[in-house]
């Protein structure tokens, strides 16, 4: 590849856990996942337009969102603008060569890296126990030593404040363990927690040490004496927990690569344009509000004048000229094309390097689409932007992309330069997809390869090659299981005299099934069926052997593996067993 790599994905996965009922969760230990993106490898060069195409539900949008962490990635690595030598080190470490530590590289550079630091119940229990004991000690101990201690507010005030400090430090320490960001809200929550624990534990201490009856706190003399000290303790607990908690969280995040702080900076470089400009703009905000919001959220503008100048610049860049005419309009006063330009301006205002364009023209009328596409190309010229362009329309990818990746069920099945991929598709799925693109010319009727059926459910991905059940050229090693072959035999025999032979038949293992009391000519029958129907019901090709066993007929299938995405020509990668 001539271009310097900009965006690199390796084994990128985004899985969504299926929602389970309470009883289901008890019965089944492992959750089921919808594997929306399931191991995507991608290289996008700097300044390149990479088109990700595929049917709806193939995971192309989820990939785009996962890169920006708009949906949490499940695994794999995302590198953005990482120098070539580090990527080489990463590949070497992954292959078990080289001297660099894989985890260190991932931690420092991968956008999707995250440390497994779950907030667990033991954390809470430990915190509770420690605080309860400390509370007891702080209040009850002086009482045991000297019953008169509580009557000296000054000395005891200090002991309270000291105790508040202890509580605050503990809360701050434990509170910074979960992977949180140092937002104001989280630190205030820590402060509140510290105050709550401080009060609760001192109260418990007072009850235990016999100074108060439970519930009788406010009537007791003790409380009055201790008011000042308690307030002081509360104040110290709050302030210390807020300050120390925040510092600790920052500190932890600093040591942890991209998680948290760096990603905020990186987000400014990575922007997205959504599909539907009628849905993605807030109808209650003016164009100015919409475009200025990223500047304000990121604290990038010092004053209103600067914000306005940058917003106007972004609008002009997005082709809304003169920008002053548009600043105070609302989305409903704009046409579809103008709305999409506002979306683009909102992305441009932060001066990004990389744009995910998620079907940016599919909601627009054909006559104005090209205007928007030309704008995107012009921005690439002027600002050196890199695009991940997501579309279902191969003819659009043809005129726009430098390279195309075809996705099927969460994986890239073929990837290559645009001309090569369209003119010489290799994967059977790409071939079919290219063949069904309608051509605006009545004289050119093309040979269409129409696939049967629809894409399988991504929570139940077929084993082996995930395309094999629909593949017109699938063969024995593509991933056929006994279950599929049994289903095909049942379908084939429906309405024939052999129907009874296969009724109630089930697979023994994933690769074998047994016809129980096989009639003498069952074997011949199956062989005949294979002979006649294997081109149509391709699963029959997977039958490796038919033998008599325990009075039945044991049918075993070929073993299979999942094809890998590998280079088969310069710059072309295909994942298909035909190219093994």
């Amino acid at each position: 590849m001539a271009r310097e790599p900009y965006l690199v994905l390796r084994d990128f996965r985004v899985w969504f856990e299926k929602r389970r009922g309470f009883l289901e969760a008890l019965r089944k230990a492992t959750p089921e996942y919808v594997r929306a993106v399931d191991g995507v490898d991608l290289d996008v060069g700097r300044g390149e337009i990479f088109c990700l195409v595929g049917e709806s539900g193939c995971g192309k949008t989820t990939t785009g969102k996962g890169i920006l962490k708009l949906v949490p990635p499940t695994g794999g690595d995302v590198f953005v603008g990482v120098p070539k030598n580090i990527l080489d080190e990463y590949e070497a470490a992954k292959a078990g060569r080289g001297h660099a530590d894989l985890e260190t590289i991932r931690r420092q550079h991968s956008l999707s890296w995250k440390e497994q630091r779950p907030w667990t119940v033991p954390h809470f229990l430990l915190l509770g126990i420690v605080l309860a004991v400390a509370g007891l000690l702080a209040t009850a101990l002086p009482a045991f030593v000297s019953a008169s201690a509580f009557h000296l507010p000054f000395t005891n005030g200090w002991s309270y404040i000291g105790y508040g400090l202890v509580v605050a430090l503990l809360v701050a320490y434990f509170g910074s363990i979960p992977p949180t960001r140092p937002t104001p809200r989280i630190t205030v929550v820590l402060g509140g927690l510290a105050v709550l624990l401080f009060d609760a534990s001192t109260y418990l201490g007072l009850v235990f040490s016999g100074y108060v009856d439970a519930g009788g706190l406010y009537q007791s003399q003790v409380w009055g004496d201790q008011t000042v000290a308690t307030l002081g303790g509360n104040l110290v607990a709050f302030i210390v927990a807020v300050v120390v908690g925040r510092v600790l969280i920052w500190n932890r995040l600093r040591g942890e690569g991209l998680e948290g702080i760096k990603i905020q900076g990186l987000r400014q470089k990575l922007q997205i344009i959504f599909q539907d400009p009628y849905e993605s703009l807030n109808p209650k905000q003016s164009v100015y509000d919409i475009v200025a919001e990223p500047l304000i959220v990121n604290g990038l503008s010092r004053n209103r004048a600067e914000t306005e100048a940058r917003v106007e610049q972004a609008l002009a860049d997005a082709g809304l000229r003169p920008p002053r005419d548009f600043l105070f309009r609302f989305p409903h006063e704009l046409s579809g094309g103008q709305r999409q330009r506002v979306s683009i301006a909102g992305a441009l205002v932060l001066d990004p390097e990389f744009l995910v364009a998620d079907e940016p023209v599919s909601m627009l009328d054909v006559s104005i689409r090209t205007e928007i596409l030309e704008l995107l190309l012009e921005l690439r010229e002027k600002k050196g932007l890199t695009y991940l362009f997501i579309t279902h329309d191969l003819s659009l990818a043809w005129v726009l992309a430098d390279r195309i990746g075809v996705m099927y069920l969460g994986k890239i099945v073929e990837e290559g330069p645009t001309r090569e991929l369209i003119k010489n598709p290799r994967h059977p799925y790409t071939k079919a997809l290219v063949s069904v693109v309608p051509v605006p010319d009545p004289d050119r009727r093309r040979q269409r390869i129409i696939l049967k059926g629809e894409r399988p459910d991504p929570s139940d991905i077929p084993p082996g090659c995930r395309f094999h059940p629909r593949c017109p050229v699938a063969f024995e090693r593509c991933g056929w299981t006994a279950e599929e072959v049994v289903d095909e035999l049942k379908d084939l025999s429906a309405g024939t005299p052999d129907e009874g032979l296969f009724a109630g038949l089930q697979s023994d293992t994933p690769l074998t099934f047994t016809l129980p009391a096989a009639s003498p000519d069952a074997e011949a029958m199956i062989r005949r069926v294979i002979e006649a129907k294997a081109e149509q019901f391709r699963g029959l090709k997977a039958i490796q052997s038919i033998e008599r066993a325990n009075g039945g007929l044991r049918v075993s299938l070929h073993e299979f593996t999942e094809p890998e995405l590998k280079g088969i020509a310069p710059d072309v990668k295909v994942s298909c067993h035909l190219f093994a």
């Binding site: 049917e55 709806s56 046409s335 094309g337 009328d365 054909v366 006559s367 104005i368 689409r369 090209t370 205007e371 596409l373 030309e374 190309l377 279902h392 329309d393 191969l394 003819s395 659009l396 043809w398 005129v399 726009l400 645009t418 001309r419 369209i422 079919a432 997809l433 290219v434 069904v436 693109v437 309608p438 051509v439 605006p440 010319d441 009545p442 004289d443 050119r444 009727r445 269409r448 129409i450 696939l451 629809e454």
Partner: protein, 339 residues
């Protein structure tokens, strides 16, 4: 009791459906929206006509006018819709009821939302059969089974609910429903718009097969000209409530006589063509409340001159069965600087 429409005799050369000067207007708060403003076309027996245009050009309104299924603020204000001697714009509601579904049916836009989510699809398809063919439920359900197999769905799935079907399968159910009473004409309103290319190809193939096997006449409404190139015999291009060009698919594509048609065809990327961005049409779609005077396309037209502002062009013949509404075909434009 609704009047029964007499059985329609098949005749030779008279078109099945002739629409003349159709005007359908909507009353809104902003004013009168002239969604369809003088539209003529014909549909022959066994013909499939494509009605193409961008969003808001009035193509769906034109189709709904044929069935008189307009929303309450819409009204056919002028024109005739001649279906074998009956003017659908004027016939009584009772007579129309005899024609709807038995003679003309529609595949509504958006298969995702056009089915009732709380009724089994079998019952939904049976409903028009029971109402229009006046048969009992049992006979209707038998017909439902046949219809489902015709569109490639297993008979037993009649017991399922719409959410159990994928988008492509729901579109097949909609097609089965439209065919329920053996209509002569099927209007398909954006039948493949929300579907994936592969499913789109499956559905178009199905429509083509059904048209052939059942000898249907079809009006296919779509914004996607490349879909029409592959499925229609003739087509009409609409712009701002008017037909700007009409003719056989080959004439319209290969020998377009209206600048808008040329521009629109040019705006589609062609996977077999050059690897460059297609052209676009500058400007915005006009408002249908206050359409431009003269030729409605003149503000966006690169050839427009004074005549285009002063006078509205008529839909004139430019070839055999080929019509276009453009002054360029009847008048020679003045030299450039006079514009």
């Amino acid at each position: 009791m609704p009047e029964l429409v007499r059985p329609i005799a098949r005749s030779g050369n008279v078109p099945l459906l002739t629409v003349r000067g159709l005007k359908t207007h909507f009353q809104t708060h902003e004013g009168t929206v002239r969604a369809v403003d003088g539209v003529d076309f014909t549909l022959g027996e066994g013909e499939s006509l494509g009605l193409a245009g961008e969003s808001g050009c009035g193509k769906t309104t034109a189709a709904l006018s044929i069935m008189r299924l307009l929303p309450s603020n819409g009204k056919i204000v002028d024109g005739t819709i001649d279906y074998v001697g009956y003017d659908l714009a004027k016939v009584s509601e009772g007579q129309l009821r005899g024609i709807r579904w038995k003679h003309i049916s529609i595949i509504f836009q958006g298969a995702m939302n056009a089915l009732n989510p709380v009724k089994r699809i079998g019952d939904q398809i049976a409903e028009p059969i029971v109402i229009h063919d006046k048969v009992d439920k049992e006979a209707a359900m038998k017909r439902v089974g046949e219809l489902l197999e015709l569109v490639g769905i297993h008979r037993e799935r009649a017991q399922e609910y719409p959410h159990e079907f994928s988008g492509g399968m729901r579109q097949r159910v909609m097609i089965a429903m439209a065919l329920a009473c053996n209509p002569k004409i099927v209007i398909a309103d954006e039948p493949v718009t929300a579907l994936d290319v592969m499913i789109q190809a499956q559905i178009l193939e199905l429509l083509e097969r059904l048209k052939r096997e059942l000898d249907l006449s079809m009006i296919l409404i779509s914004h996607d000209l490349s879909v029409m190139a592959e499925t229609c015999d003739s087509m009409a291009i609409m712009y701002a409530g008017k037909i700007v060009e009409r003719g056989s698919v080959r004439d319209v594509y290969k020998n377009a006589k209206h600048p808008y048609t040329k521009d629109l065809i040019g705006a589609f990327p062609d996977i077999e063509g050059p690897q460059t961005l297609p052209a676009y049409i500058p400007g915005l779609l006009p408002s249908l409340i206050n359409p431009p005077v003269g030729c409605r396309f003149h503000p966006r037209c690169k050839y427009a001159w004074q005549l285009c502002v002063d006078q509205e062009p008529g839909l004139d013949p430019v070839g055999e069965g080929h019509f276009a509404a453009c002054h360029l075909n009847t008048t020679t434009p003045p030299p450039k600087e006079a514009m």
